[in-house]
């Protein structure tokens, strides 16, 4: 019998797709496997062990950098999400008004400027402020991270809002709810999955940042990525693989939560 002619098939496409997935996963997979190498080499397998995870755990520099990373990401994500939520409410569900397009493009601007340029700009600005004020704490990093996280937090919140009907809020207002009460009891609960998704996204984006952090950080303010960048110049041991593996699992966990949150976003309209 002749094989049925499938109009969707293009010859060779499935092979290239498989090659693509192969290309995407083999390096990461190899990296994870060698994190469990008992030898000191990241290329020759000598047996299974957790020794490099233990080594990373006992390495103060790594733990300090990791804690700093999470600290910055948490604060930046919360501030960025709060600002993005307000901005999303201000820029959706309205007839166009003057400045709306400006706001929309301004909020998305950090996505368009090359990161290296923003990094250099912040280096110049912050080095001046450091001289003037004498303050050289984590504030600069948090401020910089907050700014570039806003567009990422904004996108899912805006998407959620656009699928939300104004009818419920109007009904509440008709029943003499104050604008604050409408926001607190109607808008916020309905918007919550979008806000959480935005916050997750902002958190991951901040956690992953290298370039801006590398330029803005003061001495002794290594985050996990900048610490790793510094180490990569030297000869590396599987400890690096172990750190990468844990980092990878953390990102993966957050992104999985984000994935399910945005799915519930789509379903509930």
């Amino acid at each position: 019998m002749r094989k049925r002619f499938d109009i969707r098939v293009q010859p060779g496409f499935a092979t290239i797709a498989m090659f693509c997935f192969f290309l995407l996963y083999v390096p990461i997979f190899t990296l994870v496997v060698y994190a469990f190498n008992s030898g000191i080499s990241i290329a020759r397998w000598e047996g299974f062990s957790f020794r490099w995870f233990v080594a990373a755990w006992n390495n103060n520099l790594v733990i300090e950098a990791a804690i700093r990373s999470v600290q910055i990401a948490a604060i930046a994500a919360v501030i960025a999400t709060a600002a993005a939520t307000l901005a999303a409410i201000a820029t959706t569900r309205t007839a166009g008004y003057r400045g709306l397009t400006f706001k929309y493009s301004f909020i998305n601007m950090p996505l368009m400027v090359p990161e290296i340029v923003t990094a250099v700009a912040l280096l110049i600005l912050f080095s001046r402020i450091k001289v003037w004020t004498g303050y050289s704490g984590l504030g600069y990093l948090i401020l910089a991270h907050t700014a570039f996280c806003i567009p990422f937090a904004y996108l899912p919140i805006r998407a959620r809002l656009e699928n939300m009907d104004l009818a419920l809020e109007r009904a509440a207002a008709d029943l003499y709810a104050t604008p604050f009460k409408v926001f607190r009891y109607i808008t916020l609960p309905l918007l919550w999955p979008g806000i959480l998704a935005g916050m997750m996204l902002a958190f991951v984006i901040s956690l992953d940042d290298i370039v801006i952090t590398e330029f803005v950080k003061s001495a002794g303010q290594e985050t996990l990525p900048t610490y790793m960048l510094g180490q990569l110049r030297r000869a590396v041991t599987p400890e690096m693989n172990a750190i990468s593996t844990v980092f990878l699992l953390l990102s993966l966990a957050i992104v999985t939560i984000f994935f399910f949150l945005s799915r519930s976003n789509e379903k509930s309209d």
Binding site: F5, I7, V9, Q10, I16, F19, C20, F21, L23, L24, Y25, P27, I28, L31, S41, I42, A43, A80, A82, A83, L86, A87, I89, A90, T94, Y97, R98, G99, K103, F106, M109, P110, M112, V113, P114, E115, I116, V117, T118, V120, A121, L122, I124, L125, L143, T146, A147, F148, Y154, V204, L207, D208, I210, V211, F215, M228, L229, S251, L252, F259
Partner: protein, 307 residues
Amino acid sequence: MTERTKQAASAAQRQEITSRWLLSTPALALIAIASVGPLLIVLVYSVLAPGSYGDVKWEFSGQGWFNVFFSRDIFDDTVSLADAHVTILWRSARLAVITTVLCLIVGFPTAYFIASRAPHNRSIWLFLITIPFWTNMLIRGFAIQEMIRNEGLANTILMKLGVISAPIQMLYTDFAILLGMVYVHLPLMVLPLYASLEKLDFRLVEAGYDLYATRLKVLWRIIIPLVKPGIIAGSILVFIPALSSYVIPRILGGGKNLMVGNLIELQFGQGRNWPLGAALSITLVIIVLFAMLYYVKNAGKTGGGHA
């Protein structure tokens, strides 16, 4: 409507607009202070004179911009093209274009493959594409480093197969940069392509076959023209970050194989030329802006006109 209700309505409208501006103030202010605003400082710095130990002297000077493209001989004052800078700019553009093309060649079939799966399976495949995308760029660069170092998996396998007798130097070459850039930017190509391909109306494809088109003709004359906005979107989304890459050339390219991002960084070291670095940054922003404009003009029309 009486005059008075009209007035009341427009007053309410004005009030609403004011409150909408108030609500968006925190976000706009944060971005202005710590992301977009500082670009103006870079612009100002690009027309100042370099200081002796880094930083700038507060006097107007066209030197920064002059140095982007030309260099003046310190002995006889003759002006010539600044080979080093022009070469690196040109190199960066070339590498970014090749990256984009390679991503398209691998990404298009992949996106098509995902779009032609059963609907409930698609999100799993898409998720598989997004996982590497959310993995830290540094980790992905490090993974590539491990694959292609002299004692890495790629060389080991090639030697076991007898293709080569001694390891090939792959790390710290342009090949390494290209591989790394394709690797990290591939998802940025696949996702917009998928978004276009998902909306593809297969009745048009079927009509093509009914009219005796070959598979290649259907691909070339029907599918590709229909998803052109997605192709443009993906290409720009890859080209822009590829052009301004910093991390990948730094860890895979070694010392000599620079791209414009690394050149900019070099200018801001101690005792370097800050105005030149600023001028290079603005050049990069301008190129990116043109790419964005092209994107907005061409990729904005989704669905290829077949709703």
